[in-house]
């Protein structure tokens, strides 16, 4: 808890930051644009899948960001919040969940776009797609819970508890969904001995990962700043 004297200057700092251009988000979007220029102009289309394969560069990278960065960050900061009770960790979890929801939504939208020409159907209960859908439900539930609690401390504790439990749930969802069935192409880069993708594609693919990770970092930071600003404004309103 910050003392009242400290409030004025952090709020001013945050407001100044909010008014300036966010170079991290900007470069994230530029990098993503560069990846797609490369994908369309300089990377040959995949022989069997044709142009639809190019969606992979954003689909797979978004899935990576959503699950391994956003969701993991949400669960991790939830655990740490319960241990340390630092409001920053709660804001981090909140930001990771919300940005993660955007990336998960991208995965769920691009998956069917690719699936229609390749699998011949918009939606299929394939293991990876199903897991992502469940992940999406969990994140939405998490954000609905946040919206339904007014008191800040209680909201932080409740959402941290849900974040921790959701982190524990993920292995169970993966296990049961895989046991159910799978027909998703295994990640092509997962075999380190011999990546089955031609060199050009690998470069585009890997740069896609970097672009989206950069974009994630930018959006996360921007969202975190909004959360900080909101709390500072609430604090300063309470002082008067």
């Amino acid at each position: 808890m910050t003392s009242p004297q400290q409030h004025r200057s952090p709020l001013g700092d945050q407001l100044a930051v909010a008014g300036s251009v966010d170079w991290l988000v900007t470069s994230g979007f530029l990098a993503l644009a560069a990846v797609y220029i490369r994908a369309f102009a300089f990377t040959p289309p995949e022989a069997i899948q044709g142009p639809a394969q190019r969606i992979l560069y954003v689909h797979a990278s978004s899935a990576f960001v959503a699950l391994y960065l956003a969701f993991a960050l949400m669960a991790l900061s939830s655990v740490l919040y319960l241990a340390l009770r630092d409001e920053k960790l709660d804001r981090l979890a909140e930001s990771a969940a919300e940005v993660g929801l955007a990336f998960t939504t991208v995965v769920l939208l691009t998956g069917p776009l690719w699936g229609k020409p390749i699998w011949g159907t918009w939606w299929t209960w394939d293991a990876r797609l199903t897991s992502t859908l469940f992940l999406w439900f969990i994140i939405v539930g998490y954000l609905v819970l946040r919206g339904a609690v007014d008191e800040r401390g209680m909201r932080a504790r409740y959402s941290a508890v849900l974040g921790v439990l959701a982190g524990l749930l993920i292995p169970f969802i993966h296990l049961s969904v895989y046991l159910f069935r799978t027909m998703h192409p295994m990640p092509l880069l997962a075999k380190p001995s011999a990546p089955s993708m031609p060199g050009d594609m690998v470069v585009t693919f890997v740069s896609g990962f970097f672009a989206l990770t950069l974009l994630f970092a930018g959006l996360l930071r921007a969202r975190y700043r909004i959360a900080t600003l909101r709390d500072l404004i609430a604090d300063s309103e309470d002082q008067h």
Binding site: L145, D150, V161, L162, L165, L168, L169, F172
Partner: protein, 231 residues
């Protein structure tokens, strides 16, 4: 000062569970509405499919588990609304017992509630859907117990959180249902295999998931519960 010896964890768990069961026994509203819901659900689902296209035996496991989950939610919702009504939860929390015991006691009462609904609706399902349950009955009952533990462990936790939010009861399904996915999958797939006459060994991977889920979430929720209370 009168003689006193504050109850230990297990004793307090039992006191809380017994109190909840006494309330349920006195009112019986939640039990009968959950049971009626289950029986109505079984009936409606039967007519929602064309019996000439889908055999009842293929339909039954899914119906069974969907209905168990939703009727369980009815009981879970009530679990903390009785505490909230006149803030009885405050008296419970002020008592010199471990907060974990409050969670475990409420969860135990909810488990008995869900198990009682299952104990009646499972034979009803066998009757309505004309199932050959004789040899599969014990394993299916075992699955029901494992699934009920999982549903109740997570559901009790979220019920205590949901009553304190602006959405109240509306929030519980949104929070709890994603956690019920692995339970419903495991229970429904194993039930259908067992009904098809396959041996228990065939469904062992699913049973392991259920057991692991129960262990992980009973422990995690018991430990996490105090964090949701200390306001």
């Amino acid at each position: 000062m009168p003689e006193r010896n504050p109850p230990g964890m297990l004793h307090a768990t039992w006191l809380v569970a017994r109190k909840d069961l006494a309330i349920e026994f006195r009112t019986r509203t939640a039990f009968f509405s959950a049971l009626l819901f289950a029986l109505l659900g079984l009936t409606i689902f039967y007519f929602a499919w064309d019996p000439t296209a889908v055999a009842a035996i293929d339909l039954a496991p899914g119906v069974l588990w969907v209905i168990f989950v939703f009727s369980g939610l009815l009981g879970l919702q009530r679990s903390f609304s009785v505490e909230q009504a006149d803030r009885a939860i405050d008296a419970l929390l002020a008592a010199p017992v471990d907060r974990e015991a409050i969670y475990l006691g409420k969860a135990l009462a909810n488990f008995l509630f869900v198990a009682a609904v299952q104990a009646i609706s499972l034979p009803a399902l066998a009757l309505f859907y004309n199932l050959p349950v004789s040899q599969a009955f014990l394993p299916i009952a075992g699955i029901a117990v494992l699934a009920a533990i999982g549903i109740v462990s997570v559901g009790t936790m979220f019920s205590s959180m949901a009553v304190n939010t602006r959405l109240a009861e509306l929030l519980l399904p949104m929070l709890a249902l994603p956690f019920f996915i692995p339970i419903v999958m495991a229970a429904a797939v194993s039930t259908s295999r067992l009904l098809a006459g396959r041996p228990v060994a065939d469904v062992m991977p699913w049973l392991r998931i259920l057991v692991a889920f129960d262990l992980v979430f009973v422990v995690a929720c018991t430990l996490a519960f105090p964090y949701t209370l200390e306001e």
